[in-house]
Every structure is written in structure tokens, then in C-alpha cells.
């Protein structure tokens, strides 16, 4: 399986190669991480530094200095059988897209070699990532991923309308992610009932996609008109902005784990949206698929030229790597990107549309991107919209600490006081 560190890395690529892949989600930092990385590193980076890497291939994006060095540590100390560095640009103009298309193609080539080695295939059996067969698969997987993204976005919409709690919505998103890691053999790490369904559905070349679709379908059925899902969904039931509860949004670089959402909801807040790479930023976009190219006649020439210079994007629009690069770089921006005021505008727009009265910003301890992002948002959003923002710093397992609980409770009291609730 390929564990991916960043929402800017398309899972479509390993999945199209028949390799299960998912976003790496941890529940704790690695126990021995401080042997490899400094104390003042963010918990997510430190979570990767686990010995033997549980046997997974790791793909780390250049999200920040810490992840870059985490990638070095994994490689240098041999903590994972294979480590890939994905050079994700920080801008999203045509040149950056073309460059990233080339990076993605290289990633596909490297993974194809991995897949061949793992299967014990002969050199002749290599996958031609520019050939029609692989491209056909890539387009098909992209369509499936689009469908999944739309499905999870619908779940998040249900959360925004108060039909299900943020904890439940995040739980579904995480289960979908887990299911993508289901291998052809039906190996699935999650013990939940829904994942058992996914395990059953997880046969065939793209078992993970089938399993993930099953998870989503099952979740939507349970969250449908008949009522919310079982298990903690009473948090938000029928409470969208009523009963003295205050609506807020959550913003973060990486939320680390959903526990904070539970703390917020238990404190009497309604989490109307979650702008995090464990939230809407990973799902709120589509990768355009050229139906006419489903025959697999991709434009390999365009890929080879990708990043050729100032006009490197010309002619690349039919290339599936280019489409992936463009869509992923253009998705709702995370704090690592340099896209002017786009992030602040998006947060304001989300707050407006979901009637959020405040923002809780979660910063993983020692996450520089979050520290800078928070200060910028506090200034921009505060000045333009007057939305109060609360900074909550945390590590794995810190969501229920006394400090966090007091801050959250005080924030709720402050917002309730403002609203006269």
C-alpha cells in the first residue's frame, strides 16, 4: 500500500497501477520519533518516523520544511521500504501545472517499477505510463475518485445543514479513505461494520475504490431521510442554529484527528464546516475527464514536454497527468500555497454560506504553516468580516486537555454572549 502525506498527491496514480493507496492518518506520533526528528517538529511529521514503516510505501509531499526532513529521515534511517518525495509546486499557474504533471508522471513511473517488483513480473511486463492501457485505467480511476469526492462532499453538506454531526461526517470521510487502502486481497485495517462491507466489496483490480464506494453508499443510506447515522450523531440532530447553540467553522492545516470536532460539539457548538486537508479541501473539487480520451489515446508527447518553460502548458490539456496536476493544484488552497487572498476569501465565503459566527483554528504544535496562516487569517478575516477566531494548538490526544476545553468553552460563551443566546 502507498501511504500519502498530503492531499495534493493524487491517489489516482497508485490506484490506477493497482496499488492500494490512502492518505496517511495516524492516532499518535511515532513512539521513537525523537531519535530521528527534533522535538520541535509537528506531530504529523513525527508520526511518519515509525520504525519499519509498517511495510508501506510512503509518498511525502514537500508540504513544509518539517515534512521534507521527515522524508529525509525515513529514507536515511530506512524506516520504510520505499519513500517517494513529491515536489508539489506552491503556485498554480500554467507553468507550475506543467511542471507538476511531469512530477506526477515520474511518480507513476517509479510506482510502476515498484508494482512490477512486488508482483515479481518480468521486465517485459512493465507498465507504460504513457501507453493507452494505463491511461485508460487512469481515466477510469479518476472518474471513480471524482464520484467519491462528490459523495463525501454531499456528506459534508449534510453536516453543514446540521443533519449529521461533524464527528460523523469526518468519520465517514476517514472510512472512505481507509477503504481506498483495501488491497485486492481484501485486507482492510478498520474493524467497523461498514468497513467489513467494504472488505467484502474490495475484490478486483481496484478493490479500494469499490470498497470506498460501498462505505459511502452505506453511510449515505444511514444518513438519508430516514435519519442520522447511529453512533454519536445526536450531537447535531435538529440543532442547526437553534436551541442556543452557536455555529462555527473549523480551519486547520491538518486536523490530525477528529477528536477536536467532538470536543467542540460536546461544548455546545455546531461545526458548520471544516476547512482542513481532513475536511472539505480534499473533496471539494473534480478532476476533468475527457470522455473522448477514455479510449486511452492520451497525449504522451504533451507529458514529455511538460514544464518546458514559460509556455509549458501549451498542448498539454489532453494529458491525464496534466489534468490531475491542474485539478489538484487548483483545489481549495491549503496554507502552503501562495495564492494571494484566496484562502481568506474562501474561509469567509464558507462562514457566510454556513452562517458560522466564529472560526476555531487548529494548529498542530510546531506547524509553521498553521502559525503563519492563522495570523494572516486573523488579520484578514477579522478586518473584513469581524469573525472572531480562536487558536487551538494541539498534538495527538490533546483535544480533551484542560487548556483546550477551557478555551473552547470560553469561546462558546463569548459567541453566545454576542448572539444574545
Amino acid at each position: 500500500m502507498v501511504l500519502v502525506s498530503c492531499s495534493y498527491v493524487p491517489l489516482e496514480i497508485p490506484l490506477a497501477l493497482g496499488i492500494p493507496a490512502k492518505r496517511a492518518i495516524f492516532h499518535e506520533q511515532a513512539p521513537s520519533c525523537e531519535a530521528y526528528l527534533p522535538r520541535d517538529f509537528c506531530p504529523y511529521a513525527k508520526a511518519f518516523a515509525r520504525e519499519h514503516g509498517e511495510g508501506h510505501v510512503i509518498a511525502i509531499a514537500g508540504s513544509c520544511d518539517a515534512m521534507r526532513r521527515a522524508c529525509d529521515a525515513l529514507r536515511y534511517f530506512g524506516l520504510a521500504p520505499e519513500v517517494h518525495f513529491i515536489d508539489v509546486p506552491r503556485s498554480c499557474d500554467g507553468d507550475a501545472e506543467a511542471y507538476y504533471a511531469g512530477v506526477l508522471r515520474d511518480f507513476a513511473l517509479e510506482l510502476a517499477r515498484t508494482a512490477r517488483r512486488e508482483r515479481g513480473d518480468s521486465a517485459e511486463a512493465r507498465v507504460d505510463v504513457d501507453g493507452p492501457s494505463f491511461r485508460r485505467r487512469l481515466v477510469a480511476v479518476t472518474q471513480s475518485m471524482n464520484s467519491l469526492r462528490r459523495g463525501v462532499s454531499r456528506v459534508l453538506e449534510l453536516q453543514a445543514t446540521g443533519r449529521i454531526s461533524a464527528m460523523d461526517a469526518m468519520g465517514i470521510a476517514l472510512e472512505v479513505n481507509d477503504a481506498l487502502g483495501v488491497s485486492r486481497q481484501g485486507d482492510c485495517g478498520s474493524p467497523s461494520d461498514v468497513s467489513a462491507d467494504a472488505r467484502e466489496a474490495g475484490g478486483g483490480e481496484n478493490g479500494g475504490l469499490v470498497a470506498a464506494a460501498a462505505v459511502l453508499e452505506s453511510a449515505m443510506r444511514l444518513a438519508g431521510p430516514a435519519g442520522p447515522r447511529s453512533g454519536g450523531s445526536d450531537r447535531n440532530r435538529g440543532s442547526a442554529g437553534v436551541g442556543g447553540r452557536v455555529r462555527i467553522g473549523v480551519a486547520a492545516t491538518c486536523l490530525l484527528e477528529p477528536a477536536l470536532l467532538g470536543v467542540l460539539e460536546d461544548a455546545g457548538l455546531i461545526v458548520a464546516f471544516v476547512d482542513s486537508c481532513l475536511g472539505s479541501r480534499s473533496f471539494d473539487f473534480d478532476v476533468p475527464v475527457d470522455e473522448g480520451r477514455r479510449d486511452g489515446e492520451g497525449n504522451g508527447h504533451a507529458v514529455a514536454d511538460a514544464g518546458a518553460g514559460a509556455d509549458g502548458n501549451s498542448g498539454a490539456s489532453c494529458d491525464p497527468f496534466y489534468e490531475l496536476a491542474r485539478a489538484y493544484l487548483g483545489k481549495p488552497a491549503c496554507p502552503r500555497m501562495f495564492v494571494g487572498d484566496e484562502r481568506a476569501r474562501r474561509i469567509e465565503s464558507l462562514a457566510r454560506s454556513s452562517r458560522a459566527q466564529g472560526i476555531v483554528y487548529f494548529a498542530p504544535k510546531f506547524c509553521d504553516q498553521a502559525y503563519y496562516d492563522f495570523a494572516e487569517l486573523k488579520k484578514q478575516v477579522g478586518e473584513r468580516s469581524g469573525l472572531p477566531m480562536l487558536l487551538v494548538e494541539g498534538e495527538y490526544g490533546s483535544a480533551e486537555s484542560g487548556q483546550t476545553l477551557t478555551r473552547v468553552a470560553a469561546f462558546r460563551e463569548m459567541l453566545a454572549g454576542r448572539s444574545g443566546l
Partner: protein
């Protein structure tokens, strides 16, 4: 020992008697300071110090008095680009080091905290942000950052561009060094060079080739000084050389860098010839990684005095790039940026460290663990393992280069002292 050898009385005066944000914008301040330089020279100040001071004053006057368009740049942007276009670069991170040396950093750090920036961020960036908010920095006409090496540099300068309402450019430096990557970066630099003159009056790309030539000339002189520093004992105090790292980051492409390094080279040649070495009875030679504390600290007094140990060379003094090609300025500057050993896989940094250990007859390596500097500190465990394999002791010395509140001098002295004892034991002392 005080950073930059600035007497403590002068620092106190700078802090209390004058308002630097006002003085820095007064023409008379530069006239007075320039007039004082010959006096310094007559009183025995070393010519290279006088040369450096003169040039810094000139650049500061250009920036603060608005004589030239001031372009803020992050630490690893090639300043040839700015000088070549007729602007004057200003590096807020490096200025933070200067502010710490003058005892002015505390105010900037407080101003930064008021803007909701976390104290867990690198203090070089926090002091820069606070300095901008407090009006201590000149007004930028534009901001250029590079994406490599350091997240804080690009983020803090982005904020400064917003504060000033000026154009912001980011050079997205590819991680790999493929031709495709080099072309992309070169095209970005070219776009900046084309766009800047349209948005900032007084700039033109015409001077770029000449700036690259000047940079090459300075590099030639610089390489000679670096070669002289291989001498055992060391001809230059490392504590002082670490101060000049700030100039090393700031000045490539300027008309004055080559004369400055020439003056330094002459000084080092004379020192070697006269055998008048700054660290008496040198017993240990250290390689210093990352920057140093720029505020008043006694650490180097112990190191270079009581413990007779030289910082023979510094990682950040290593000129890592090949000669620039004035006929291909964009490709050449792209190559310079991409050849930074702090970028790309850690093995590139390890190679440079191993090379410097050999070239400078190093006995031990000290990494200054600047609080919040993820890119440098993140390699500490790897560097320790690598050096262990080479039989070279390594110390990660936690501290803060600008924020004196975040460290303990007593603890730093104890740790460094224990490290020297270790070196002493290996030497059989």
C-alpha cells in the same frame, strides 16, 4: 562577547537614546556615520571592517532614504537579481540578526507577538515581522521570496508585502535538479525580471549581466579568503566570521562585495604571514552549522578564549554555486538557487559537511539548533549519525539567535564545555 563587537555602551545608547525607526530615515545619520569611518580607520579598525561598514551604510541609506527601489528578499534569493536591476536588496531575516546585535530585537519580537504570530516560529522571521510592523524596516517597493529551504522566510515576507501594499513574487524552486526543473525556475526568474520594471519605476533588467560579472569577481576573491581559512591555526575568529555570514547572504552582485573580500583576503594573508592568530594556542577546530546568537553572549568568549577552540569555518559561509554566466542570467541564477546544498535530499548537505570537515581540518561539528528552524534542525539526527561514521564528534547546541529569552547561556556554556572536554579527551589532553 557582543555580536559584531559593538560595545555594550553603544548598544544601550542605540536602544535608549534614539528611536531607530526615526534615525534610520535621516540623511544626517548616514553623513555622521560615514564621517566617523576615517576616525575608526585612524584608530586601528581593520580595513575590511571599515569597508563593510561603509558599504552597509551606503545600502541602508539607499533603502531607508528611498534613493533606490528597495526590494525585500528572503535569505536565499540571489541578490544579483536586485542589484542588477538597479535596486537595493533588504533581507529582513539578516536585519533581525543586526537588530539583535544592537539590542533592538526585543521590541520587534513583542511587536510580532501582538500580530498573533506564535513564539514557536523562528525568531529571525518574528523579529523581521515585528520590525516591519514597528516601522523599523525600510518601505519595500517589491518583495521577492524563494520557496526553498525555509517556510518562514516566504511566509513572513508575504505578510510584509501585504503590509506595504507592494508587488510580491515567489520563485518556486523545484526540489529536483532536472533540466525541466531548471527551465521552469529560469522562466520564473525571467518573468520577475520582466515584470518588476513595469511595476516599480527605476528598475531595469539591463544591468543584470554586469551584476553577474561583479558577483563572479567577488566569488573569486571570496574563494581566496576561504582557502586562507584552511590554515591551521585559523586566521579569522569564527565568532566574527559568523557575523559576516549576514553579508554573505545579502551582497552578491553589489559593486562593493569584491573590494570587501579583497580587503579581507589581504588581512588574512597578513595574519598568516605574521603568525598573529586570533585564538591563542588553538587546540580544536570546529565546523559551525547554521547561524549563531547575535545578541550579547559569553559563549564565544569561553570557546575562543578559555577553551582555545576555533570555529574554523561555517556551513553558511560555503560558496556552493558555480561561476555565473552573464550571457544567460536567468538560467545561471536558477542554477545558483538549485545548487544550494540545503535544498534537495539531505545527502547534498551531508556531502558539503564532509567536504568542509576535510578541507578545514575539523575536529568537531557544532550545529546551532535555532529554535523553530525546522529545515536545519530536521537534519540533526542524520548529521550526527553520518559524522559518527566519520569519527567526528557532533553537538546540537539548542538556542535562539535573536530571542535571548528563549535560551539559557549557562546551559549553552555547559554543553559546549562538555563537548570541548570530549574533544580534549580524544586528543589525549
Amino acid at each position: 562577547m557582543t555580536g559584531f563587537g559593538i560595545p555594550s555602551g553603544l548598544r544601550r545608547a542605540a536602544r535608549r537614546a534614539v528611536r531607530p525607526e526615526v534615525v534610520l530615515r535621516r540623511r544626517w545619520a548616514y553623513r555622521v556615520a560615514s564621517a566617523a569611518l576615517p576616525l575608526l580607520e585612524r584608530n586601528g579598525a581593520r580595513p575590511y571592517k571599515v569597508a563593510a561598514t561603509r558599504c552597509v551604510l551606503s545600502d541602508f541609506a539607499d533603502a531607508y532614504l528611498g534613493r533606490k527601489p528597495c526590494i525585500f528578499a528572503s535569505a536565499f534569493v540571489p541578490t544579483e537579481l536586485v542589484y542588477g536591476m538597479g535596486g537595493v536588496p533588504f533581507l529582513p531575516e539578516a536585519a533581525a540578526g543586526l537588530a539583535a546585535a544592537f539590542g533592538l530585537a526585543a521590541e520587534s519580537l513583542s511587536a510580532c507577538e501582538a500580530l498573533w504570530y506564535s513564539p514557536d516560529l523562528c525568531s529571525f522571521h518574528r523579529a523581521g515581522l515585528g520590525g516591519a510592523a514597528a516601522g523599523l524596516l525600510p518601505r519595500p517597493s517589491a518583495v521577492i521570496v524563494s520557496s526553498h529551504l525555509c517556510d518562514g522566510g516566504k511566509r513572513s515576507l508575504f505578510h510584509m508585502s501585504r503590509l506595504a501594499g507592494c508587488p510580491f513574487y515567489m520563485l518556486d524552486v523545484p526540489y529536483s535538479s532536472s533540466d525541466r526543473a531548471a527551465r521552469w525556475l529560469a522562466s520564473q526568474i525571467e518573468q520577475v525580471a520582466r515584470d518588476l520594471p513595469r511595476r516599480v519605476p527605476g528598475l531595469s533588467a539591463e544591468g543584470l549581466p554586469h551584476a553577474l560579472e561583479r558577483s563572479n569577481e567577488a566569488l573569486t576573491e571570496y574563494e581566496r579568503t576561504s582557502a586562507l581559512r584552511r590554515n591551521v591555526p585559523a586566521p579569522w575568529r569564527g565568532s566574527e566570521a559568523l557575523n559576516y555570514v549576514l553579508l554573505f547572504l545579502w551582497s552578491w552582485g553589489s559593486p562593493w562585495l569584491a573590494p570587501f573580500y579583497r580587503a579581507l583576503r589581504v588581512h588574512l594573508e597578513r595574519t598568516v604571514a605574521a603568525g598573529d592568530f586570533p585564538v591563542l594556542g588553538e587546540r580544536h577546530r570546529l565546523l559551525w552549522l547554521n547561524l549563531r546568537p547575535y545578541y550579547d553572549t559569553g559563549v564565544f568568549k569561553y570557546l575562543e578564549g578559555d577553551w582555545a577552540s576555533s570555529v574554523a569555518f561555517e556551513e553558511y559561509s560555503f560558496a556552493y554555486w558555480p561561476r555565473l554566466n552573464p550571457r544567460e542570467p536567468f538560467a545561471s541564477l536558477a542554477e545558483k538557487m538549485m545548487s544550494n546544498f540545503g535544498w534537495g535530499p539531505i545527502e547534498r548537505r551531508l556531502e558539503v559537511i564532509a567536504r568542509l570537515v576535510g578541507d578545514y581540518s575539523i575536529d568537531g561539528v557544532v550545529q546551532f539548533g535555532q529554535w523553530g528552524c525546522r529545515q536545519s534542525n530536521g537534519g540533526a539526527a542524520i548529521i550526527a549519525r553520518e559524522l559518527k561514521g566519520m569519527g567526528i564528534p557532533f553537538l546540537n547546541l539548542d538556542g535562539d539567535g535573536v530571542d535571548a529569552r528563549c535560551g539559557s547561556e549557562a546551559q549553552a556554556v555547559t554543553r559546549l564545555g562538555a563537548f570541548i572536554e570530549l574533544l580534549e579527551a580524544r586528543r589525549g589532553g
